[in-house]
Protein backbone atom coordinates (compact mmCIF):
# COMPACT_ATOMS: atom_id res chain seq x y z
CA UNK A 1 0.00 0.00 0.00
CA UNK A 2 1.58 3.30 -1.02
CA UNK A 3 1.74 6.20 1.39
CA UNK A 4 0.10 8.34 -1.23
CA UNK A 5 -2.95 6.12 -1.38
CA UNK A 6 -3.07 6.20 2.38
CA UNK A 7 -3.14 9.94 2.68
CA UNK A 8 -5.73 10.15 -0.06
CA UNK A 9 -7.96 7.72 1.82
CA UNK A 10 -7.43 9.15 5.25
CA UNK A 11 -9.12 12.44 4.41
CA UNK A 12 -11.86 13.07 6.93
CA UNK A 13 -14.48 15.41 5.59
CA UNK A 14 -14.80 18.49 7.77
CA UNK A 15 -17.97 18.93 9.78
CA UNK A 16 -20.29 21.16 7.81
CA UNK A 17 -21.25 24.50 9.32
CA UNK A 18 -24.75 25.32 10.50
CA UNK A 19 -25.79 27.04 7.30
CA UNK A 20 -24.71 24.10 5.20
CA UNK A 21 -26.37 21.67 7.58
CA UNK A 22 -29.68 23.47 7.30
CA UNK A 23 -29.33 23.70 3.53
CA UNK A 24 -28.60 19.98 3.33
CA UNK A 25 -31.52 19.15 5.61
CA UNK A 26 -33.90 21.08 3.37
CA UNK A 27 -32.47 19.63 0.19
CA UNK A 28 -32.55 16.08 1.60
CA UNK A 29 -36.16 16.50 2.67
CA UNK A 30 -37.03 17.72 -0.82
CA UNK A 31 -35.32 14.72 -2.42
CA UNK A 32 -37.36 12.38 -0.22
CA UNK A 33 -40.52 14.38 -1.01
CA UNK A 34 -39.76 13.98 -4.72
CA UNK A 35 -39.31 10.26 -4.24
CA UNK A 36 -42.61 9.92 -2.38
CA UNK A 37 -44.51 11.96 -4.93
CA UNK A 38 -43.05 9.81 -7.71
CA UNK A 39 -44.52 6.82 -5.90
CA UNK A 40 -47.95 8.44 -5.93
CA UNK A 41 -47.59 9.14 -9.63
CA UNK A 42 -46.50 5.56 -10.32
CA UNK A 43 -49.33 4.14 -8.23
CA UNK A 44 -52.28 6.50 -8.79
CA UNK A 45 -54.57 3.87 -7.28
CA UNK A 46 -53.24 5.02 -3.89
CA UNK A 47 -54.94 8.32 -4.50
CA UNK A 48 -58.14 6.61 -5.59
CA UNK A 49 -58.20 4.43 -2.45
CA UNK A 50 -57.59 7.50 -0.35
CA UNK A 51 -60.79 9.09 -1.69
CA UNK A 52 -63.04 6.04 -1.66
CA UNK A 53 -63.54 5.98 2.08
CA UNK A 54 -64.50 9.66 2.47
CA UNK A 55 -66.61 9.35 -0.66
CA UNK A 56 -68.60 6.51 0.91
CA UNK A 57 -69.03 8.60 4.03
CA UNK A 58 -70.42 11.47 1.98
CA UNK A 59 -72.93 9.18 0.28
CA UNK A 60 -73.88 7.48 3.54
CA UNK A 61 -74.35 10.61 5.60
CA UNK A 62 -75.84 12.63 2.80
CA UNK A 63 -78.40 10.06 1.64
CA UNK A 64 -78.75 7.32 4.29
CA UNK A 65 -78.41 8.97 7.73
CA UNK A 66 -78.75 12.56 6.60
CA UNK A 67 -82.53 12.55 6.68
CA UNK A 68 -82.52 11.48 10.33
CA UNK A 69 -79.99 14.06 11.48
CA UNK A 70 -81.39 17.46 12.32
CA UNK A 71 -79.13 20.44 12.64
CA UNK A 72 -81.21 23.57 13.32
CA UNK A 73 -80.80 26.37 10.82
CA UNK A 74 -78.45 24.58 8.40
CA UNK A 75 -78.85 22.37 5.40
CA UNK A 76 -77.30 19.06 6.58
CA UNK A 77 -75.07 18.70 3.50
CA UNK A 78 -73.46 22.07 4.28
CA UNK A 79 -73.00 20.99 7.88
CA UNK A 80 -71.60 17.62 6.84
CA UNK A 81 -68.96 18.56 4.28
CA UNK A 82 -66.57 20.43 6.65
CA UNK A 83 -66.69 17.31 8.83
CA UNK A 84 -65.89 15.16 5.80
CA UNK A 85 -62.92 17.35 4.88
CA UNK A 86 -61.53 17.05 8.39
CA UNK A 87 -62.16 13.30 8.42
CA UNK A 88 -60.34 13.03 5.10
CA UNK A 89 -57.16 14.69 6.31
CA UNK A 90 -57.33 12.92 9.67
CA UNK A 91 -57.56 9.45 8.17
CA UNK A 92 -55.12 10.47 5.44
CA UNK A 93 -52.51 11.10 8.12
CA UNK A 94 -52.50 7.37 8.87
CA UNK A 95 -50.84 6.87 5.49
CA UNK A 96 -47.75 8.62 6.77
CA UNK A 97 -47.19 5.86 9.29
CA UNK A 98 -48.14 3.08 6.92
CA UNK A 99 -45.74 4.39 4.26
CA UNK A 100 -42.87 4.67 6.72
CA UNK A 101 -43.50 1.18 8.08
CA UNK A 102 -43.51 -0.12 4.52
CA UNK A 103 -40.19 1.59 3.72
CA UNK A 104 -38.72 0.20 6.87
CA UNK A 105 -39.96 -3.30 6.09
CA UNK A 106 -38.31 -3.18 2.68
CA UNK A 107 -34.97 -2.22 4.22
CA UNK A 108 -35.06 1.13 2.48
CA UNK A 109 -34.77 3.10 5.70
CA UNK A 110 -31.75 1.02 6.64
CA UNK A 111 -30.01 2.13 3.43
CA UNK A 112 -31.00 5.75 4.03
CA UNK A 113 -29.69 5.58 7.57
CA UNK A 114 -26.27 4.64 6.22
CA UNK A 115 -26.17 7.76 4.03
CA UNK A 116 -24.76 11.10 5.15
CA UNK A 117 -28.18 12.74 4.93
CA UNK A 118 -30.05 14.76 7.53
CA UNK A 119 -31.74 12.62 10.19
CA UNK A 120 -34.93 14.62 9.79
CA UNK A 121 -35.19 14.22 6.01
CA UNK A 122 -36.97 10.88 5.73
CA UNK A 123 -39.73 12.05 8.04
CA UNK A 124 -39.95 15.61 6.77
CA UNK A 125 -39.99 14.34 3.19
CA UNK A 126 -42.75 11.88 3.98
CA UNK A 127 -44.96 14.38 5.79
CA UNK A 128 -44.42 16.97 3.08
CA UNK A 129 -45.34 14.52 0.34
CA UNK A 130 -48.42 13.50 2.32
CA UNK A 131 -49.33 17.16 2.63
CA UNK A 132 -49.17 17.47 -1.15
CA UNK A 133 -51.30 14.37 -1.49
CA UNK A 134 -53.82 15.87 0.92
CA UNK A 135 -54.11 18.91 -1.34
CA UNK A 136 -55.20 16.62 -4.17
CA UNK A 137 -57.53 14.52 -2.05
CA UNK A 138 -59.20 17.52 -0.41
CA UNK A 139 -59.61 19.04 -3.89
CA UNK A 140 -61.37 15.89 -5.03
CA UNK A 141 -63.60 15.84 -1.97
CA UNK A 142 -64.50 19.45 -2.58
CA UNK A 143 -65.65 18.49 -6.07
CA UNK A 144 -67.63 15.57 -4.61
CA UNK A 145 -69.19 17.98 -2.13
CA UNK A 146 -70.31 20.35 -4.83
CA UNK A 147 -71.77 17.44 -6.76
CA UNK A 148 -73.99 16.39 -3.82
CA UNK A 149 -75.24 19.90 -3.17
CA UNK A 150 -72.69 21.47 -0.84
CA UNK A 151 -72.57 25.27 -1.20
CA UNK A 152 -70.19 27.69 0.49
CA UNK A 153 -72.26 30.25 2.42
CA UNK A 154 -69.46 32.78 2.77
CA UNK A 155 -66.81 33.48 0.14
CA UNK A 156 -64.02 31.72 -1.66
CA UNK A 157 -61.29 33.31 0.50
CA UNK A 158 -62.76 31.90 3.67
CA UNK A 159 -63.06 28.52 2.00
CA UNK A 160 -59.39 28.74 0.99
CA UNK A 161 -58.40 29.70 4.54
CA UNK A 162 -60.40 26.75 5.82
CA UNK A 163 -58.53 24.41 3.52
CA UNK A 164 -55.17 25.80 4.57
CA UNK A 165 -56.09 25.30 8.23
CA UNK A 166 -57.12 21.72 7.50
CA UNK A 167 -53.93 20.97 5.62
CA UNK A 168 -51.87 22.32 8.52
CA UNK A 169 -53.88 20.11 10.84
CA UNK A 170 -53.36 17.06 8.62
CA UNK A 171 -49.63 17.77 8.44
CA UNK A 172 -49.46 17.89 12.23
CA UNK A 173 -51.32 14.60 12.60
CA UNK A 174 -48.88 13.02 10.12
CA UNK A 175 -46.14 13.36 12.74
CA UNK A 176 -48.18 11.38 15.26
CA UNK A 177 -48.53 8.52 12.81
CA UNK A 178 -44.91 8.82 11.71
CA UNK A 179 -43.97 7.96 15.27
CA UNK A 180 -46.36 5.00 15.24
CA UNK A 181 -45.17 3.81 11.83
CA UNK A 182 -41.57 3.73 13.03
CA UNK A 183 -42.46 1.95 16.25
CA UNK A 184 -44.41 -1.03 14.92
CA UNK A 185 -43.26 -4.12 13.06
CA UNK A 186 -44.89 -3.61 9.66
CA UNK A 187 -47.40 -1.72 7.55
CA UNK A 188 -50.37 -3.82 8.70
CA UNK A 189 -49.56 -3.14 12.34
CA UNK A 190 -49.21 0.56 11.56
CA UNK A 191 -52.70 0.51 10.12
CA UNK A 192 -54.07 -1.57 12.98
CA UNK A 193 -52.46 0.62 15.64
CA UNK A 194 -53.68 3.84 14.04
CA UNK A 195 -57.40 3.18 13.73
CA UNK A 196 -58.11 2.87 17.46
CA UNK A 197 -56.54 6.30 17.87
CA UNK A 198 -58.23 7.93 14.92
CA UNK A 199 -61.74 6.49 15.20
CA UNK A 200 -62.72 8.03 18.55
CA UNK A 201 -61.15 11.33 17.54
CA UNK A 202 -63.15 11.48 14.32
CA UNK A 203 -66.46 10.06 15.52
CA UNK A 204 -66.55 11.59 19.00
CA UNK A 205 -66.23 14.98 17.37
CA UNK A 206 -68.49 17.50 15.76
CA UNK A 207 -67.72 16.06 12.31
CA UNK A 208 -71.10 14.41 11.66
CA UNK A 209 -73.39 15.45 14.50
CA UNK A 210 -73.43 18.24 17.02
CA UNK A 211 -71.56 17.40 20.23
CA UNK A 212 -74.60 18.56 22.21
CA UNK A 213 -76.42 15.39 21.15
CA UNK A 214 -73.78 13.18 22.81
CA UNK A 215 -74.08 11.72 26.34
CA UNK A 216 -72.85 13.91 29.19
CA UNK A 217 -69.77 11.82 29.92
CA UNK A 218 -68.58 12.13 26.35
CA UNK A 219 -69.25 15.81 25.77
CA UNK A 220 -66.16 17.19 27.59
CA UNK A 221 -63.88 15.05 25.45
CA UNK A 222 -65.81 15.68 22.23
CA UNK A 223 -65.77 19.42 22.72
CA UNK A 224 -62.12 19.76 23.62
CA UNK A 225 -60.32 17.58 21.17
CA UNK A 226 -58.43 18.65 18.07
CA UNK A 227 -60.68 17.15 15.39
CA UNK A 228 -63.66 19.07 16.77
CA UNK A 229 -61.55 22.21 16.74
CA UNK A 230 -60.65 21.67 13.09
CA UNK A 231 -64.22 20.85 12.05
CA UNK A 232 -65.60 23.88 13.90
CA UNK A 233 -63.02 26.15 12.29
CA UNK A 234 -63.83 25.04 8.76
CA UNK A 235 -67.55 25.01 9.46
CA UNK A 236 -67.44 28.58 10.77
CA UNK A 237 -65.44 29.64 7.73
CA UNK A 238 -67.77 28.14 5.15
CA UNK A 239 -71.12 28.57 6.91
CA UNK A 240 -70.50 32.05 8.30
CA UNK A 241 -70.28 33.40 11.84
CA UNK A 242 -67.32 34.11 14.10
CA UNK A 243 -64.31 31.98 13.20
CA UNK A 244 -61.19 33.60 14.71
CA UNK A 245 -61.08 31.59 17.94
CA UNK A 246 -61.84 28.33 16.13
CA UNK A 247 -59.04 28.87 13.60
CA UNK A 248 -56.54 29.86 16.30
CA UNK A 249 -57.47 26.86 18.43
CA UNK A 250 -56.89 24.51 15.50
CA UNK A 251 -53.57 26.12 14.64
CA UNK A 252 -52.52 25.94 18.28
CA UNK A 253 -53.40 22.24 18.39
CA UNK A 254 -51.43 21.68 15.17
CA UNK A 255 -48.37 23.54 16.42
CA UNK A 256 -48.54 21.69 19.73
CA UNK A 257 -48.81 18.31 18.06
CA UNK A 258 -45.82 19.02 15.80
CA UNK A 259 -43.79 20.36 18.73
CA UNK A 260 -44.35 17.15 20.68
CA UNK A 261 -44.41 14.47 18.02
CA UNK A 262 -41.83 15.66 15.47
CA UNK A 263 -38.94 15.41 17.96
CA UNK A 264 -40.24 12.07 19.23
CA UNK A 265 -40.53 10.68 15.70
CA UNK A 266 -37.09 11.92 14.70
CA UNK A 267 -35.62 10.44 17.85
CA UNK A 268 -37.30 7.14 17.03
CA UNK A 269 -35.81 7.30 13.54
CA UNK A 270 -32.32 7.92 14.91
CA UNK A 271 -32.56 4.96 17.24
CA UNK A 272 -33.51 2.66 14.37
Amino acid sequence: MSTQAMSARAVIPPSPGTVERVRNAVSDALVITWRNLLTIRRLPQLLVFATIQPLLFVLMFRYVFGGAIQVPGVDYVNYLMPGIFAQTVAFGAINTGVGLAEDRGKGLIERLRSLPMARSAVLAGRTTADLTRNVLVVGLMLAVGFAVGFRVQTDVFKLALGIVVLLAFGFALSWVFALIGLSVANAESAQAASFPIMLPLVFASSAFVSTTTMPDWLTPFAEHQPVTAAVDAVRALVLGGPWGTEVLTTLAWSAGIVAVFAPLAIRRYRLG
Binding site: M1, M6, R9, I12, P13, S15, W34, L108
Partner: protein, 317 residues
Amino acid sequence: MSAIEATGLTKRFGTVQALAGVDLSAAEGTVLGVLGPNGAGKTTAVRILCTILQADEGSAFVAGVDVARHPQRVRELIGLAGQYAAVDENLTGRENLRMVGMLTHMGRRAARTRAAELLERFELTDAGDRPARTYSGGMRRRLDLAAALVHRPPVLFLDEPTTGLDPSSRTGLWGVVEDLVADGTTVLLTTQYLEEADRLADRVVVIDRGSVIAQGTPGELKRTLGATIIEFTIPEPAEAARARSALAAVPGTVDGEDGLVRLAVTDGGAALMDAVRALDAAGVRPAAAAVREPTLDDVFLALTGHAVETPAEEVAA
Protein backbone atom coordinates in the same frame (compact mmCIF):
# COMPACT_ATOMS: atom_id res chain seq x y z
CA MET B 1 -3.46 2.25 8.59
CA SER B 2 -6.53 0.11 9.10
CA ALA B 3 -9.59 1.10 7.11
CA ILE B 4 -11.72 -0.94 9.49
CA GLU B 5 -10.79 -1.48 13.10
CA ALA B 6 -13.23 -2.84 15.63
CA THR B 7 -12.39 -3.95 19.14
CA GLY B 8 -14.49 -5.88 21.60
CA LEU B 9 -17.86 -5.23 19.99
CA THR B 10 -20.79 -6.55 21.96
CA LYS B 11 -24.48 -6.30 21.24
CA ARG B 12 -27.41 -7.88 22.98
CA PHE B 13 -31.00 -8.02 21.76
CA GLY B 14 -33.15 -8.94 24.73
CA THR B 15 -31.89 -12.36 25.70
CA VAL B 16 -29.89 -12.92 22.50
CA GLN B 17 -26.20 -12.10 22.70
CA ALA B 18 -25.71 -11.27 19.02
CA LEU B 19 -22.10 -10.18 19.49
CA ALA B 20 -19.98 -11.24 22.44
CA GLY B 21 -16.76 -9.29 21.96
CA VAL B 22 -15.75 -9.29 18.31
CA ASP B 23 -12.53 -7.80 16.94
CA LEU B 24 -12.31 -7.03 13.24
CA SER B 25 -9.63 -5.32 11.27
CA ALA B 26 -9.00 -4.70 7.59
CA ALA B 27 -6.00 -2.94 6.10
CA GLU B 28 -6.66 -0.34 3.49
CA GLY B 29 -7.31 -1.69 0.03
CA THR B 30 -7.93 -5.24 1.22
CA VAL B 31 -10.94 -7.50 1.49
CA LEU B 32 -11.97 -8.83 4.87
CA GLY B 33 -14.26 -11.84 4.65
CA VAL B 34 -16.59 -12.46 7.58
CA LEU B 35 -17.86 -15.99 7.59
CA GLY B 36 -20.44 -17.55 9.81
CA PRO B 37 -23.65 -19.54 9.86
CA ASN B 38 -27.13 -18.03 10.22
CA GLY B 39 -27.45 -15.98 13.35
CA ALA B 40 -23.69 -15.78 13.92
CA GLY B 41 -23.82 -11.99 14.22
CA LYS B 42 -22.45 -10.98 10.81
CA THR B 43 -25.21 -8.54 9.95
CA THR B 44 -25.17 -7.10 13.45
CA ALA B 45 -21.44 -6.37 13.12
CA VAL B 46 -21.95 -4.76 9.71
CA ARG B 47 -24.80 -2.60 11.00
CA ILE B 48 -22.66 -1.34 13.85
CA LEU B 49 -19.81 -0.47 11.51
CA CYS B 50 -22.27 1.30 9.20
CA THR B 51 -23.60 3.44 12.07
CA ILE B 52 -27.07 1.94 11.80
CA LEU B 53 -26.83 0.30 15.18
CA GLN B 54 -24.92 1.24 18.31
CA ALA B 55 -22.75 -1.34 20.00
CA ASP B 56 -23.33 -1.99 23.69
CA GLU B 57 -19.60 -2.11 24.29
CA GLY B 58 -16.40 -1.88 22.31
CA SER B 59 -15.15 0.60 19.79
CA ALA B 60 -15.08 0.80 16.03
CA PHE B 61 -13.25 3.03 13.60
CA VAL B 62 -13.85 3.26 9.87
CA ALA B 63 -11.17 5.06 7.88
CA GLY B 64 -9.89 6.31 11.20
CA VAL B 65 -13.23 7.84 12.24
CA ASP B 66 -15.01 6.69 15.39
CA VAL B 67 -18.43 5.33 14.34
CA ALA B 68 -20.02 6.11 17.69
CA ARG B 69 -18.72 9.67 17.96
CA HIS B 70 -18.81 10.87 14.37
CA PRO B 71 -21.40 8.71 12.63
CA GLN B 72 -22.28 11.35 10.05
CA ARG B 73 -18.65 11.56 8.89
CA VAL B 74 -18.42 7.80 8.72
CA ARG B 75 -21.49 7.79 6.46
CA GLU B 76 -19.62 9.97 3.97
CA LEU B 77 -16.94 7.31 3.73
CA ILE B 78 -18.92 4.10 3.47
CA GLY B 79 -21.17 2.31 1.05
CA LEU B 80 -23.53 -0.42 2.21
CA ALA B 81 -25.23 -3.16 0.27
CA GLY B 82 -27.28 -4.88 2.92
CA GLN B 83 -28.32 -8.49 3.11
CA TYR B 84 -31.66 -7.78 1.44
CA ALA B 85 -31.56 -5.53 -1.60
CA ALA B 86 -32.90 -2.20 -0.39
CA VAL B 87 -34.07 -0.62 -3.61
CA ASP B 88 -37.14 1.54 -3.98
CA GLU B 89 -39.46 -0.59 -6.04
CA ASN B 90 -41.56 2.23 -7.38
CA LEU B 91 -38.63 4.21 -8.66
CA THR B 92 -36.73 3.25 -11.78
CA GLY B 93 -33.17 2.01 -11.46
CA ARG B 94 -31.94 5.38 -12.65
CA GLU B 95 -34.09 7.27 -10.14
CA ASN B 96 -32.86 5.05 -7.33
CA LEU B 97 -29.27 5.92 -8.14
CA ARG B 98 -30.00 9.60 -8.63
CA MET B 99 -31.75 9.69 -5.27
CA VAL B 100 -28.66 8.31 -3.54
CA GLY B 101 -26.50 10.80 -5.45
CA MET B 102 -28.65 13.71 -4.32
CA LEU B 103 -28.70 12.45 -0.75
CA THR B 104 -24.92 12.29 -0.68
CA HIS B 105 -24.87 15.92 -1.84
CA MET B 106 -22.96 15.41 -5.04
CA GLY B 107 -25.17 17.82 -6.95
CA ARG B 108 -27.97 17.26 -9.41
CA ARG B 109 -25.85 17.04 -12.54
CA ALA B 110 -23.14 14.83 -11.04
CA ALA B 111 -25.84 12.53 -9.64
CA ARG B 112 -27.37 12.18 -13.09
CA THR B 113 -24.02 11.39 -14.74
CA ARG B 114 -23.04 8.97 -12.02
CA ALA B 115 -26.36 7.13 -12.30
CA ALA B 116 -25.89 6.62 -16.04
CA GLU B 117 -22.32 5.45 -15.48
CA LEU B 118 -23.32 2.88 -12.87
CA LEU B 119 -26.26 1.56 -14.88
CA GLU B 120 -23.82 0.98 -17.71
CA ARG B 121 -21.30 -0.72 -15.47
CA PHE B 122 -23.87 -3.08 -13.98
CA GLU B 123 -25.52 -3.83 -17.32
CA LEU B 124 -28.75 -2.21 -16.28
CA THR B 125 -28.90 0.50 -18.92
CA ASP B 126 -31.72 -1.21 -20.82
CA ALA B 127 -33.77 -1.66 -17.66
CA GLY B 128 -32.71 1.69 -16.22
CA ASP B 129 -35.98 3.46 -16.90
CA ARG B 130 -38.26 0.71 -15.68
CA PRO B 131 -39.57 0.63 -12.11
CA ALA B 132 -37.30 -1.58 -9.99
CA ARG B 133 -40.42 -3.57 -9.08
CA THR B 134 -40.08 -5.23 -12.50
CA TYR B 135 -36.46 -6.32 -11.88
CA SER B 136 -35.37 -9.88 -11.29
CA GLY B 137 -33.67 -10.77 -8.01
CA GLY B 138 -30.23 -10.57 -9.59
CA MET B 139 -30.95 -7.19 -11.17
CA ARG B 140 -32.11 -5.83 -7.83
CA ARG B 141 -28.92 -7.02 -6.20
CA ARG B 142 -26.87 -5.33 -8.88
CA LEU B 143 -28.84 -2.12 -8.51
CA ASP B 144 -28.40 -2.31 -4.75
CA LEU B 145 -24.66 -2.68 -5.13
CA ALA B 146 -24.58 0.17 -7.64
CA ALA B 147 -26.44 2.34 -5.11
CA ALA B 148 -23.75 1.58 -2.54
CA LEU B 149 -21.09 2.84 -4.95
CA VAL B 150 -22.72 6.11 -6.01
CA HIS B 151 -20.55 8.44 -3.94
CA ARG B 152 -17.38 6.39 -4.52
CA PRO B 153 -16.95 5.35 -0.89
CA PRO B 154 -13.44 4.27 0.11
CA VAL B 155 -14.89 1.61 2.43
CA LEU B 156 -17.57 -0.77 1.25
CA PHE B 157 -19.73 -3.17 3.27
CA LEU B 158 -21.33 -6.06 1.44
CA ASP B 159 -23.62 -8.28 3.49
CA GLU B 160 -23.98 -11.62 1.72
CA PRO B 161 -23.79 -9.95 -1.68
CA THR B 162 -24.13 -13.11 -3.74
CA THR B 163 -26.82 -14.97 -1.83
CA GLY B 164 -29.52 -15.77 -4.34
CA LEU B 165 -27.47 -14.96 -7.43
CA ASP B 166 -27.00 -17.39 -10.28
CA PRO B 167 -23.42 -18.58 -10.91
CA SER B 168 -22.75 -16.14 -13.73
CA SER B 169 -24.05 -13.12 -11.80
CA ARG B 170 -22.00 -14.28 -8.86
CA THR B 171 -18.83 -14.38 -10.93
CA GLY B 172 -19.70 -10.98 -12.37
CA LEU B 173 -20.08 -9.51 -8.92
CA TRP B 174 -16.78 -10.99 -7.83
CA GLY B 175 -15.19 -9.22 -10.78
CA VAL B 176 -16.69 -5.91 -9.70
CA VAL B 177 -15.37 -6.34 -6.17
CA GLU B 178 -11.91 -7.17 -7.50
CA ASP B 179 -11.92 -4.03 -9.66
CA LEU B 180 -12.93 -1.88 -6.72
CA VAL B 181 -10.19 -3.32 -4.57
CA ALA B 182 -7.67 -2.79 -7.34
CA ASP B 183 -8.68 0.89 -7.21
CA GLY B 184 -7.92 1.02 -3.50
CA THR B 185 -11.35 0.40 -1.98
CA THR B 186 -11.48 -1.54 1.27
CA VAL B 187 -14.22 -4.14 1.39
CA LEU B 188 -15.82 -6.01 4.25
CA LEU B 189 -17.83 -8.87 2.90
CA THR B 190 -19.94 -11.35 4.80
CA THR B 191 -20.70 -14.68 3.27
CA GLN B 192 -21.73 -18.21 3.99
CA TYR B 193 -19.58 -19.54 1.16
CA LEU B 194 -16.00 -20.48 1.78
CA GLU B 195 -15.43 -20.44 -1.96
CA GLU B 196 -16.38 -16.79 -2.12
CA ALA B 197 -14.13 -15.85 0.78
CA ASP B 198 -11.39 -17.89 -0.82
CA ARG B 199 -11.69 -16.04 -4.10
CA LEU B 200 -12.03 -12.50 -2.74
CA ALA B 201 -10.78 -12.17 0.80
CA ASP B 202 -7.26 -11.35 1.86
CA ARG B 203 -8.17 -12.25 5.39
CA VAL B 204 -11.07 -14.18 6.82
CA VAL B 205 -12.70 -14.02 10.22
CA VAL B 206 -15.02 -16.84 11.19
CA ILE B 207 -17.67 -15.98 13.75
CA ASP B 208 -20.08 -18.25 15.51
CA ARG B 209 -22.63 -17.25 18.15
CA GLY B 210 -21.20 -13.77 18.38
CA SER B 211 -17.55 -14.73 18.87
CA VAL B 212 -14.57 -15.00 16.57
CA ILE B 213 -13.59 -18.66 16.43
CA ALA B 214 -10.89 -18.50 13.77
CA GLN B 215 -9.09 -16.08 11.54
CA GLY B 216 -6.36 -15.99 8.99
CA THR B 217 -5.92 -16.04 5.25
CA PRO B 218 -8.26 -18.34 3.36
CA GLY B 219 -5.30 -20.61 2.72
CA GLU B 220 -4.46 -20.86 6.40
CA LEU B 221 -8.05 -21.64 7.24
CA LYS B 222 -8.26 -24.38 4.71
CA ARG B 223 -4.93 -25.80 5.73
CA THR B 224 -6.24 -26.26 9.25
CA LEU B 225 -8.62 -28.58 7.56
CA GLY B 226 -7.14 -29.94 4.37
CA ALA B 227 -7.82 -28.75 0.88
CA THR B 228 -9.97 -31.67 -0.18
CA ILE B 229 -12.65 -33.70 1.52
CA ILE B 230 -13.09 -37.36 0.64
CA GLU B 231 -16.32 -38.84 1.86
CA PHE B 232 -17.37 -42.48 1.98
CA THR B 233 -20.88 -43.59 2.76
CA ILE B 234 -20.73 -46.75 4.86
CA PRO B 235 -24.08 -47.53 6.53
CA GLU B 236 -22.91 -50.55 8.55
CA PRO B 237 -21.38 -49.20 11.85
CA ALA B 238 -18.87 -52.04 12.30
CA GLU B 239 -17.68 -51.64 8.74
CA ALA B 240 -17.47 -47.85 9.20
CA ALA B 241 -15.29 -48.35 12.27
CA ARG B 242 -13.02 -50.64 10.30
CA ALA B 243 -12.80 -48.04 7.54
CA ARG B 244 -11.86 -45.35 10.04
CA SER B 245 -8.95 -47.31 11.42
CA ALA B 246 -7.79 -48.25 7.95
CA LEU B 247 -7.86 -44.60 6.83
CA ALA B 248 -5.81 -43.49 9.83
CA ALA B 249 -2.78 -44.63 7.83
CA VAL B 250 -3.51 -42.02 5.14
CA PRO B 251 -2.08 -38.49 5.83
CA GLY B 252 -5.04 -36.33 6.78
CA THR B 253 -7.76 -36.12 9.43
CA VAL B 254 -10.58 -38.60 9.73
CA ASP B 255 -13.99 -37.94 11.21
CA GLY B 256 -17.60 -38.54 10.33
CA GLU B 257 -21.00 -39.36 11.72
CA ASP B 258 -23.85 -41.79 11.11
CA GLY B 259 -22.89 -43.76 8.07
CA LEU B 260 -20.38 -41.20 6.81
CA VAL B 261 -16.60 -41.47 6.99
CA ARG B 262 -14.86 -38.23 6.13
CA LEU B 263 -11.21 -37.68 5.32
CA ALA B 264 -9.74 -34.18 5.02
CA VAL B 265 -6.49 -34.17 3.05
CA THR B 266 -4.08 -31.70 1.49
CA ASP B 267 -3.12 -33.48 -1.71
CA GLY B 268 -6.40 -34.80 -3.05
CA GLY B 269 -5.26 -37.06 -5.87
CA ALA B 270 -2.61 -39.11 -4.08
CA ALA B 271 -4.67 -39.32 -0.90
CA LEU B 272 -7.66 -40.64 -2.82
CA MET B 273 -5.59 -43.46 -4.27
CA ASP B 274 -4.17 -44.26 -0.82
CA ALA B 275 -7.60 -44.19 0.76
CA VAL B 276 -9.12 -46.49 -1.83
CA ARG B 277 -6.24 -48.93 -1.44
CA ALA B 278 -6.49 -48.84 2.36
CA LEU B 279 -10.21 -49.53 2.27
CA ASP B 280 -9.77 -52.29 -0.25
CA ALA B 281 -7.10 -53.92 1.91
CA ALA B 282 -9.45 -53.74 4.91
CA GLY B 283 -12.21 -55.33 2.84
CA VAL B 284 -14.51 -52.30 3.11
CA ARG B 285 -16.92 -51.65 0.24
CA PRO B 286 -18.44 -48.14 0.60
CA ALA B 287 -21.99 -47.66 -0.66
CA ALA B 288 -20.95 -44.34 -2.18
CA ALA B 289 -17.90 -42.08 -2.40
CA ALA B 290 -17.42 -38.37 -3.10
CA VAL B 291 -14.50 -36.01 -3.47
CA ARG B 292 -15.21 -32.35 -2.87
CA GLU B 293 -13.91 -28.98 -1.73
CA PRO B 294 -14.31 -28.18 1.94
CA THR B 295 -17.38 -26.10 2.71
CA LEU B 296 -18.11 -23.77 5.54
CA ASP B 297 -19.76 -26.72 7.24
CA ASP B 298 -16.49 -28.62 7.22
CA VAL B 299 -14.58 -25.64 8.58
CA PHE B 300 -17.15 -25.43 11.30
CA LEU B 301 -17.04 -29.05 12.11
CA ALA B 302 -13.28 -28.91 12.32
CA LEU B 303 -13.20 -25.70 14.37
CA THR B 304 -16.01 -26.26 16.80
CA GLY B 305 -16.77 -29.92 16.74
CA HIS B 306 -20.40 -29.08 16.02
CA ALA B 307 -22.05 -28.74 12.66
CA VAL B 308 -23.56 -25.48 11.49
CA GLU B 309 -26.72 -25.11 13.50
CA THR B 310 -29.62 -23.16 12.24
CA PRO B 311 -31.61 -21.59 15.05
CA ALA B 312 -35.28 -22.43 14.71
CA GLU B 313 -36.29 -18.74 14.51
CA GLU B 314 -34.00 -18.25 11.53
CA VAL B 315 -35.62 -21.10 9.67
CA ALA B 316 -39.03 -19.60 10.26
CA ALA B 317 -37.89 -16.18 9.04
